[in-house]
Symmetry: C2
Subunit: 527 residues, 2 copies
Amino acid sequence: MANWNNLDTLASYQKLEALKGKVNLAEAMTGETGAQRAKTYAVPMAADMSFNYAAKEVDADVLNALKELAEEAQLAEKYEELYNGAVINTGEKRLVLHQLTRGQLGEDVIADGVNKRAFYKEQQDRIAEFAAKVHAGEITNAAGEKFNTVVQIGIGGSDLGPRAMYLALENWAKANDTFKMNAKFISNVDPDDAAGVLATTDVAHAIFVLVSKSGTTLETLTNESFVKDALVKAGLNPADHMIAVTSETSPLAKSDDYLAAFFMDDYIGGRYSSTSAVGGAVLSLAFGPEVFARFLNGAAEEDKLAANKCIFENPDMLDALIGVYERNVQGYGATAVLPYSQALSRFPAHLQQLDMESNGKSVNRFGGEISYVTGPMIFGEPGTNGQHSFYQLLHQGTDIIPMQFVGFKNSQIGSDVDIQGSTSQQKLCANVAAQIVAFACGKKDADPNKTFEGGRPSSIIIGKQLTPEALGALLAHFENKVMFQGFLWNVNSFDQEGVQLGKVLAKKVLAHDTDGALKVYSDLLEI
Amino acid sequence: MANWNNLDTLASYQKLEALKGKVNLAEAMTGETGAQRAKTYAVPMAADMSFNYAAKEVDADVLNALKELAEEAQLAEKYEELYNGAVINTGEKRLVLHQLTRGQLGEDVIADGVNKRAFYKEQQDRIAEFAAKVHAGEITNAAGEKFNTVVQIGIGGSDLGPRAMYLALENWAKANDTFKMNAKFISNVDPDDAAGVLATTDVAHAIFVLVSKSGTTLETLTNESFVKDALVKAGLNPADHMIAVTSETSPLAKSDDYLAAFFMDDYIGGRYSSTSAVGGAVLSLAFGPEVFARFLNGAAEEDKLAANKCIFENPDMLDALIGVYERNVQGYGATAVLPYSQALSRFPAHLQQLDMESNGKSVNRFGGEISYVTGPMIFGEPGTNGQHSFYQLLHQGTDIIPMQFVGFKNSQIGSDVDIQGSTSQQKLCANVAAQIVAFACGKKDADPNKTFEGGRPSSIIIGKQLTPEALGALLAHFENKVMFQGFLWNVNSFDQEGVQLGKVLAKKVLAHDTDGALKVYSDLLEI
């Protein structure tokens, strides 16, 4: 059994703290030293990708301290306990098994009387069979016509991840002739969300995926009613158009209201559910089950790398450690995720949930005090768009914000134009290369307004192309990074008690059971 | 002439600093005190909206200090200088005239030999005439068929603002029978962006709006070529399908490649250009010129309020002052913008540019040193979605992140369902009311993991409905807030020198004129 201790009780962390400001990044990244770093400070990832951390504020001393920290914090042992089925989610007393939805790294995990890997695989297979029948026209609407659109109804983890993954592979699938159905998403309880999506959807040929683990999520059930209303108004039977993704114990599981139900369970957190049935249903329907399987394989390969005890062969663990150095020793409050790929337009929004909901905690995994900062703020937009937006602050603002770039050598569609001697893809890649060096090295200028201090750290994940495997590896990389950081901070990354109070008060407002300021706000909003 | 001084040289700022931690927000917002604050800490905005700051960490003392600060920093005088045509953009030695695109608050502003208000109004009228002809089928494609789609090609300020405004009014326009044409946007130099949009666009019936002030923006010109290629491949003449929005001095202005050209100028910063021809062309084509005019009216009304010298009657100035108190005295590093309106899904991304590009600066407006922090990080997603995502960290994370909520009493479409005794719109509003109180007051619990410390400040802008006027007022509110904060920090909010270095280095990469780390990254990305 691993020892779970607060970060600041570890001797190796004290050592790391002594290395605050150790690296002058502008110097380190200049000239031949910089070239050497860019070549050697890199770790292979799954799916032919590489995690390059040359432009991070690390050197041999810092890296050595991070290595010691990884060992003392027993990161590898904790991960092993997790994938072997320990109760890592201490708050809710649950196993944490999202890795099992895409592979098996350790022993058989038996819970609730079943082999969990077999259970998740069975759901994947059931979805594959269902999707194949939909695509083949064996499962149709009541008029015997094929479905052409899939609409996911879910919020949070049932929305952000699947939506980001859909957008990430939409053009790839079209270019590779595996695109099967358009996907749309309804999430917000704002009635304009459902009404807006439904107004542009041919509901007679749409299949709706209701996603709620508990079967009780307010937004999702409300939006289900919205959709059912629309189907009934169109003269259709909702039960012919809806499937459910839920837990076997939820009220939705055995309902006749659905064409089919596919299952997840309590060991898959919502924000970790993209590789479970939650992502599986919509992505298999949209792109075919083979594409979803390839996505899972990429994630499984990355999970394997994450089990490596040597931090220099473990991109996920190393990324996590550098992030903790930046957050706790260097004192940076945020991290920007900047994919140079329009297909990853909503990937930062997914990571925002993944990271901030997992590690935005103020007590340790046992409810004890901690006296250091935990999860940073996460935000981002695709490059080059961000360059024309908030990069000004990243370059010349008063706070340093570490960055994580992602770039691919090739586009997904392959259609391109050659302007001024280079393709758009080359321009895209040239920009991300340029940004890394610009942020790290800066530039002196006689005009202080045109001076760049440099010293702004970034890493880059470089891939060949954003394929299903690469996307799976990328997703798993960040899931594992967040997990390792949670281990380091000694927090429970797998519950979310912070979302409860708002729910309780909202119910009071709706029941008109309020006083004080809450009553005034209710009145102001005319509820 | 106003005096431009660094924030920390002002006597009133020293006073404000002494008020760090003055308000116990949880206490202040509890019981009758909280009710009184919620009722009285509010300032009317344009378009029937209200800025409520009851849940901010202010009291009579803090507000009084902010009032003194506003006076000593001469915020009202500086705004007056700005709208009367002073050279407020010191770096580029330019006037700052975006308010003139929607109204005139002061004297006639004559620059480059013309009356600038007349110039902007003329462009608005020319666009209105053009859009009306397109809608009437008087301007058509070569086959004499009506255009049904408008595609904006632009990046940064030519993209984020117009895109956010389009999404904000799309469903409103549909519900109010003013919807004319679908709008799409191409921005990223990633070839998959243009290729993906073009693949789902009926180019034969599309009109493309090329937006570049200088006529030299790399991404935009590259994407123009992409579009021209697609038009030619479809057997169409690009000149029949493209219009330009640019400055009169740009190479695009007099080119025969465009059906028409509409003008902005150097006094309209990209991120402040939504109310100029940059937003005008696409929004007038999409929703009709009347809707665009209503949007401008809302902004103009808010601009008028911003001229009020009394901070308690000036929502934009007060919001700015509270933000500076939070940033510089309380020491918070970020601000979350959280609209409870799916239509405002990209509004936070626009504000991210507006705020971070304007005030992410490390030298003052004269190039002198500053020794305090400036612009915060800005991020956000619509509620209730965010509640199921990053709100965990906002409630229970180790950093306090001030919030700006936006909520409307009524939806845009009006289609709704009643579930469990309330409509979706009521649930939406109940949630935002609940969040304000949950964040401010928190909740004690025997389980530390379920404890909410509270003391997390927020404001809310409450409106009746997200109409064109309300959207204009909302946009102007934040533009003016950012402007006043720039005045307080004594920075130039209207240039963006921080984006230059990356451009220079990217050009070197494309010219293969690199060494050191830059060459290695270029090789790794196979440029």
